[in-house]
C-alpha cells in the first residue's frame, strides 16, 4: 500500500518536473537577461524594503518585464544564501544581488562556482581583496545624506533654543545605534558634524541596541536617551521603536531608510536614505553592454544614490530648505567635505594622520592613510564605511 503511495508520489513529482522544465525552456529564447535579488527579510523590514523599491524602480527605468526581476526572501545569512544564489542561476539569472553583510562569504562561494554570472553584494568589504572578476561590492556615501539631515536637526535645535525651551548648552542630540561598528560610527559622526555646523553648542549621546532590528531595544534606548536630556533623536537601526517614543513624548526625530511622516506627523523632521536604483541600473547596463562592473562601487549624492527624504515643514525650522539646498550644492561641487579635519578633534587635538583598516583581513590593523588635503577620505578606498574615530563632543553611553 505504502509502496504504491510512494511510487505514485515520485512518479507525479517526475512528471511535474519535466512539465516545469519544458515550460521554462520555451521562455529562454525570447529573453536572456534575468536579475536575481536576495533579501534578508521580507518587506516588513525597512532595510530590505528599501532595496526592493530600488529594484522595482530600476526595472521600470530599464523597461524590464516582471519575470526578469526575480526576488528571493527571506534568506538567512548562511548556507541559505548560497542555495538561493544557485537557485537564481538555475533560473537563468546572469546577475545575482544580495543585500546583507553576512551574505558575503556565501556570495563569494557562489561566485567561484558560477564564473559566468555576475555577483553583486551591498555593504560587503571583500571584493577588492578577493580579486574575482565576477564578484563586486557596492555601497553609498550615506554620510553625506546624514550630514544634510544633521543640518536640519541643528537648525531645529537652534529654533528650540531661541524659543527658550532649553539653553544653548542643553542642546543634546540622542542617537540610537545598532552596533558600534565603523558603518554606524561614520553615520552618527557625520550626522553630528552636520548639526554642529549650524548649532555650535550641540553635543551628542550615543547608545547601541546590538541588533539591526529590535523594536523593544530601540524604544528602550530612545527613552533612556531622552531621560538623559536628549532634545532630538536620530537612529541607525531598522525599526519604528525610536520614532514611536518620540511621537509619544513630542521629541523631534530624524529617521533613516524611509520617512515616518504618516505615522509620526508631529515629530518626524527629515530622513536620509540610500537609493539603490542607480546602482541596479548601472550593474544591469554593464551586463547588457558587456562591460565590467566596478569591483567596489560607491554611490554619491551626485549619482542620486544618497537622498534626503521629504522635509516635514510642520516640524522643521524656518530656512531649513534653503540651507539644505546650499549644502547639497557644495557637497556636489566638492567644496564642502563632511569629515573636514578642521571641524572636529579627537582627545582635544586635530587629526592629521590616520591609518584605517580598509583591507578587511580580520586583523583590525589600519594600513591605509585616509587623511589627505585636510579631510578624511571616507568610502573612497573601499565602498563600505571605515571612519571609526571617536570624536570629541559625542559621548558613548555603552563605553561607561
Amino acid at each position: 500500500m505504502l509502496k504504491k503511495v510512494l511510487s505514485t508520489v515520485l512518479a507525479l513529482a517526475t512528471v511535474l518536473t519535466l512539465c516545469v522544465a519544458f515550460a521554462s525552456c520555451e521562455k529562454k529564447g525570447t529573453e536572456n537577461l534575468k536579475v536575481g535579488f536576495i533579501f534578508l527579510h521580507d518587506d516588513t523590514s525597512t532595510y530590505d524594503k528599501n532595496f526592493m523599491n530600488g529594484a522595482k524602480e530600476a526595472q521600470q527605468a530599464l523597461g524590464l518585464k516582471d519575470d526578469q526581476i526575480i526576488f528571493k526572501y527571506p534568506v538567512e545569512e548562511g548556507k541559505a544564501c548560497y542555495d538561493a544564489a544557485a537557485d537564481l542561476v538555475d533560473q537563468g539569472c546572469t546577475i545575482v544581488f544580495a543585500d546583507s553583510f553576512g551574505h558575503e562569504e556565501w556570495m563569494i562561494k557562489a561566485a567561484k562556482e558560477f564564473p559566468n554570472v555576475q555577483f553583486c553584494h551591498a555593504t560587503g568589504v571583500k571584493a577588492h581583496t578577493e580579486k574575482l572578476d565576477n564578484y563586486h561590492n557596492a555601497f553609498a556615501s550615506i554620510y553625506e545624506g546624514r550630514y544634510l539631515a544633521g543640518i536640519a536637526a541643528g537648525l531645529k535645535l537652534n529654533e528650540m533654543i531661541a524659543a527658550g525651551k532649553f539653553t544653548a548648552e542643553e542642546a543634546v542630540i540622542g542617537y540610537v545605534g545598532a552596533f558600534p561598528y565603523a558603518e554606524v560610527v561614520s553615520g552618527y559622526t557625520s550626522f553630528f558634524l552636520g548639526a554642529r555646523s549650524v548649532c555650535p553648542t550641540a553635543t551628542m549621546l550615543v547608545d547601541f541596541t546590538n541588533s539591526w532590528y529590535s523594536v523593544d531595544a530601540e524604544r528602550d534606548v530612545a527613552e533612556t536617551l531622552i531621560s538623559k536630556g536628549a532634545k532630538l533623536i536620530s537612529q541607525h537601526a531598522d525599526s519604528m521603536g525610536a520614532p514611536s517614543v518620540c511621537e509619544a513624548k513630542n521629541v523631534p526625530n530624524v529617521f533613516y531608510n524611509g520617512d515616518t511622516i504618516a505615522t509620526c506627523p508631529n515629530t518626524y523632521l527629515i530622513a536620509s536614505r540610500i537609493n539603490w536604483a542607480p546602482y541596479f541600473e548601472y550593474m544591469i547596463n554593464c551586463v547588457k553592454d558587456g562591460k565590467a562592473i566596478d569591483t567596489d562601487w560607491t554611490g554619491t549624492i551626485a549619482t542620486g544614490s544618497v537622498v534626503v527624504e521629504v522635509l516635514n515643514e510642520k516640524v522643521a525650522a524656518a530656512g531649513t530648505k534653503e540651507a539644505l539646498e546650499k549644502a547639497t550644492a557644495d557637497l556636489k561641487a566638492g567644496t564642502l567635505h563632511v569629515f573636514d579635519t578642521k571641524t572636529f578633534t579627537v582627545d582635544g587635538k586635530e587629526v592629521t594622520t590616520y591609518l584605517a583598516d580598509v583591507d578587511d583581513y580580520g586583523d583590525f590593523k589600519g594600513e591605509t592613510e585616509v587623511i589627505k588635503d585636510g579631510y578624511f577620505h571616507e568610502s573612497e578606498y573601499r565602498s563600505a564605511p571605515y571612519f571609526d574615530l571617536r570624536i570629541d563632543g559625542i559621548t558613548d553611553l555603552s563605553a561607561k
Binding site: L6, T17, V20, D87
Partner: protein, 367 residues
Amino acid sequence: MSDTTAPKKSETREPLFHIAKREEIVWWKAWLIRAAAIIASLAACAAISRFLGGIDPSSFFRSMLSGAFGTTRRIWKLFYELAILLCISLAVTPAFKMRFWNIGAEGQALIGGLATAACMYYFGGRIPTPLLFVVMIAASILAGMIWAVIPAVFKAFWNTNETLFTLMMNYVAIQLVTFMINFWVTSGSGTLPPMSEYALPTIGNAWILNIIVISVLTVAVYIYLRFSKHGYELSVVGESENTALYVGINVKKVIIRTMLLSGALCGVTGLLLVGGTDHTISASTVGGRGFTAIMVSWLGRFNPIFMVLTSFLLAFLGAGANQISNDYKMNGSISDIITAVILFFVIGCEFFIQYRIAFRKHGKEEK
C-alpha cells in the same frame, strides 16, 4: 457529550447530529478522507490567494509545484529538507510513544551542531581528518544526549514537568550558540564563516550523504520501536506507568534510556546540518524544525514510515508556499497563511477519521 446523559423527558428533542467515536475504519476510507482534506485545503488556499493577492488558481499551483520540483536542485533540496525534518522527528518519536513530551529537540539538535562546529573550529587542521570526523560524530551525539538526559533524570527521579524543562533547554542552547559565535567571530559580522575544508565528505552532491544516513536511521528506528524489547517497554510505560511497574519494568531506566536515544538522534541531526551541509552554525541552523518535528511525529502516528509522508508534506509546503510569496513579490506572511490553512485541514481531517458524525434519523423514535 450531552447526548450521553439520560433524557429527562420522553419528548427530548434529538439534536440534528451528534458525534460518536468510530469503532474501526477501513484504510481506504481513512485515506479517502485525507485526500479529500488535501484537495479541500488546496482549494481554500487558491481562493484565499485569489482574494488577497489576485493570483489566479492555475498559476498558484504552478508556482507551488515549481517551488518544490522546478529544477533538479530544488528536487534535491526538497528531499534533503524532508530527510532533515524526518531525522529530528525520528528523534522525538520514541519519547512521545513513552508519553514523555520532549519539545526540546530544537535545542538538542542545535547543541549537537554546536559541538560539531566547535570540533571543526578547534581541531580542524590540527588532527588528521578521519580522526576529526570520529571526534565530530562522538561530540555531537554526546552533546545531544547530555541536553536530553538532564530533563529525563529530573523527570525520572523528581517527577519534574518535562515539557517546560525541555522547552527551557532550547533557549539555553540558542543563547549558548549566540555566545560562542560572538566569542569566535571578532569581526562583528555575527556570522561564523564556513569551515568547508573540515566538512564531512560529499557523495555526488551536498545532500546525498544526509539522505542516505537518514534513510538508514528511519529503518533502524522503525525496527527498534516495532520489534525490540526496548520498543515494547517504552510503549508500556507510555500506556500506563503502573502497568509497567507491575510487570517489572524499571520505569526510571526506560525514561532515561529513551531520552538518551532521543538526544543522540538529535545530535546526529545537528552533525548532519553543520558538518554535512552548512559547515557553519547560527542560532537559526535548526530553524524551528525541532518544533515542526512534533507535528510530523503526531501526524505520522509515531510510525517512522508514515512520518516519511508527513515530512514530505511539510517540506513540500515550505518550498511551495515560499515560492508563491517570492513569485508574486508578496509579503512573507502569505506563505505562512498557505501553510497554516493546509495544515489546518490535514490535522482537522484526523478528527473525521477518529469520529463519525451521525445525523438525526427522520421518522424514527429513539428507544
